[in-house]
Amino acid sequence: MQQVDFSQEDIHTYLARHQRKELLRFLTCGSVDDGKSTLIGRLLHDTKMIYEDQLAAVKRDSEKVGTTGAGEIDLALLTDGLKAEREQGITIDVAYRYFSTDRRKFIIADTPGHEQYTRNMATGASTCQLAIILIDARHGVMTQTRRHSFIVSLLGIRHVVVAINKMDLVDYSREVFERIKEEYTGFVAKLELHDVTFIPMSALKGDNVASKSNTMPWYSGPPLLDHLETVHIAGDRNLTDFRFPVQYVLRPNLNFRGFAGTIASGVLRKGDEVMVLPSGKRSTVKSIVTYDGELEEAFAPQAVTLTLADEVDVSRGDMLVFPDDQPHVSSEIEAMVVWMAEQPFVPGRPYTLKSTTRQVTAEVASFRYGVDVNTLEHRPIARLALNEVGHVQLSLTQPLAFDPYRINAATGAFILIDRLTNNTVGAGMILEGGAGKSQGDVWATEPAARLKLRESQITPAEREQRYGQLPVTVLLVGLTGSGKSQIAYALERRLWDAGRAVTVLYGQNMRQGLNRDLGFTADDRSENLRRSAEVAKLMNDAGIITIAAFVAPHAAVREKAKQLIGPERVLEVFCTAPIEVLRSRDKSGAYEMADAGNIAQMPGVTAAFEEPKSPDLVLQTDQISVEDSVNRILEVMKSKGYFPNSSSAS
């Protein structure tokens, strides 16, 4: 409870002011020892939320178990939770803390930085509007920083504060701050985080936490607390799309039939026409009823009761929306799922899915890919284990009304419940295009007839003359560990040094950008190659030599890629080595994971690799060096006439 000074104003003025406060929920994330507990303790202490008896207890404990120097109070002890944990000196689970200032009431979701991080962070983050990511100034951006930022972005938190802490240990150095800021900005570009604020501070000394510190005159921004009090959050809610999941049907007497619920998003006015989903029946809103009187208008997140003009069938789990602004309704959804149980998420097992007030049965249709929370890399998966995150396609037994989570968190979030243990085992965020994406063969899909192809005014001959080369796509194919990428980049270097215009398309890189929505199923691999072939074609059309390194396990798909680029412009190079060699070279651990059943459809292990029947070149990469491989490719390119008017390419 906050202690205040009543010499300045009387209690009535105080109450009037405090009745108008806004609520801000935020998350604190940091690795062990970054100073998270100290920071929270500092916020509580400096906003006078600590009572004398609590402070006395902490002082006592500081001497027993505190980590600060003699005489200093270990503010971290204010926030430690259960006794057993305190004794172990670690915090597990999410703890909620409360404090308030004149302007806002704050709820802190305090999540620990160790093992159960993903699960706990996702839980804490799910209700928050802002995240504080702690970085120890001495260590800079670490693996954990990436992981925390990824989860924050995954859960759709819109405001981020990067708290660069322990500035006192780096002499309050501006350079250190700027370096960390730059490093963070660099990697965060890949994530959907838009409002990022950097604050240099010392939680221990209180610099730039509740008040501006004069130890860092070079920092012109606000201290943390100022920022928390003023960051604009009113625009975070979706007030555009009216969604009203029906929670409870009220029938106190024969004359009253009301639908009670919380407005998930949007604004509703008396008299508005609404549609009931999934039935599609329509009516108009007769009244918006509350204990405190009827309303003309209501908006998210108000809890109200609606009565309708007509006798339409409405029950719990239905959703009321506007007919001209409907959500998706489907029994197939695409979602990012965070797994929270010891027992992995596996196909062929029914789970209960709860979204808004609706419960349906869900099963995995396919795992598209898993995301490594530390590196953000996508990889093929066959199941999702505790604390793992993956893109999953789910089939539902009944249709669900939903919106993509990014547009509407209230109607795009769900939990998965195990039917045997009754435990909450997964948390899901529905993706754009979640209504099931087109599964047909895109290779064969004809573009719309009305689309005309416009020709460039620059002819291929002009390009050939300028670059002194005929564009070609060198398609390097082969299993993981066959040396494709090494050869590709060595070849690029040699061509570049020889004055050629050249680029590499590498499967893994493509998956991080243009193809980040794709997984590793046969369909997705095919689509990955199709899009990459389209890019290779554009590159070749622009006159540029393209080196494309892909696993490309299916002969038919490779053939389609060749036809798309133009068979005369493709050199197919097959990189191969005995499977033991491939396995021993692979540093990604993909083979072991596939052996353990953790990767589905891994070519060479659990899926076929159809060897090219008549490649332009075969490279036995266990027998020749990378340099020799490059030389041999160059020879073939030369002999096929891709370098007119030049005697040597190297």
């Binding site: 409870m1 205040v4 009543f6 209690i11 009535h12 105080y14 109450l15 405090h18 108008r20 406060k21 806004e22 609520l23 009572y51 004398e52 207890a57 926030t79 939770g81 259960l82 057993a84 689970d93 999410v94 703890a95 909620y96 803390r97 409360y98 308030s100 806002r104 009431k105 699960r119 996702a122 839980t123 799910s126 009113a234 007030l239 929670q247 409870y248 009220l250 106190p252 009253f256 009301g258 009670a260 619920g261 009823v289 509350t290 204990y291 208008e297 908006f299 997140p301 108000q302 809890a303 709860k354 979204s355 808004t356 007030t357 209230a410 769900f414 939990i415 419940i417 009754n422 909450t424």
Partner: protein, 304 residues
């Protein structure tokens, strides 16, 4: 205030969230009950429930576990308020405890609480086969409560296992329980003591007069002021009740509840006093004094 830019004040947000929780529990459980302790938190929780089902009545009963040692004023308030509001109140007392002569003086605070409160509550829950019980506890009350879920899962023995609590995301609560298992639902989880008082003030919610200062007979024992509420109060040799202007920050069994000297006779004055206070709310409760972590112990055993 509400209209401008479609913003809600923090109290309105908390109110909406609590109503959502109460409706969820009522919709998804077969036999919910609201634990009614007659205190200010219960008063707020009850009002929120009335709001949730307006214009209907509460679709569940209230349960008061009566140790028979509550302040007289509490019982009077309870009976009158429930009658006025047309509420279905169930009162449960552990008759075995009564037969054994359990009382706060001879049995000690721990044993008295264990038998007359914790065990009594379990008896009542079993007797009526309630599968969800609303409680008015808040996370800001005590350090060990900071991690409590809104739906706190209890096994067949009503025990709380810290390792067996479910992750709770968004406002999507997991209501799955097997037969015999239950949950405690805490709609006021995110409220603070100040929020509760402000809400009582804003909404004009009636509360037990003991919260307001008045001249009352008390004795001072181990630095705590105990009210002599009836003739069962055992005075120690030399103890003479004195008339003092006191009030209570929390309410419970009168021999176990400390009073504070105060002049606060209105809600704003109570709030003012609280804001100026230098010690936390729970100091007034004798049962918490034994050791840190004792609340956690109690929770494991089935007390809140």
């Amino acid at each position: 205030m509400i209209r401008s830019g479609y913003n809600l004040t923090h109290l309105k947000v908390l109110e909406a969230e609590s109503i959502h929780i109460i409706r969820e529990v009522a919709a998804e459980f077969e036999r919910p009950v609201m634990l009614y302790s007659i205190g200010k938190d219960s008063a707020v929780m009850l009002r929120l429930a009335q709001k949730a089902f307006y214009p209907g009545r509460l679709p569940f009963p209230l349960l008061h576990v009566d140790t028979t040692w509550k302040f007289k004023a509490m019982i009077e308030f309870r009976d009158r308020y429930c009658r006025e509001q047309g509420l279905d109140l169930k009162v449960w007392t552990n008759q075995e405890g009564i037969a054994q002569g359990i009382n706060p003086f001879d049995s000690g605070s721990k044993k008295h609480t264990d038998i007359m409160k914790t065990a009594a509550l379990k008896q009542a829950l079993n007797h009526y086969q309630f599968d969800a019980a609303f409680g008015g506890a808040r996370r800001d009350e005590e350090k060990s409560r900071a991690k409590e879920r809104v739906y706190s899962f209890r096994d067949r023995l009503h025990q709380w296992d810290p390792k067996n609590q479910r992750p709770e995301l968004w406002n999507l609560y997991n209501s799955k329980v097997n037969k015999g298992e239950s949950i405690r639902a805490f709609p006021l989880s995110n409220w603070t003591e100040l929020d509760v008082w402000q809400y009582v003030h804003l909404e004009n919610i009636p509360i037990v007069p003991l919260y307001f200062a008045d001249v009352r007979p008390v004795v001072e024992r181990d630095g705590t002021l105990i009210m002599v509420d009836d003739e069962r109060m055992r005075l120690l040799p030399g103890e003479v009740p004195m008339m003092k202007k006191v009030r209570f920050r929390t309410l419970g069994c009168y021999p176990l509840t400390g009073a504070i000297e105060s002049n606060a006779t209105t809600l704003p004055e109570i709030i003012e006093e609280m804001l100026l206070a230098r010690n936390s709310e729970r100091q007034g409760r004798v049962i918490d004094h034994d050791e840190t972590g004792s609340m956690e112990q109690k929770k494991r055993e089935g007390y809140f």
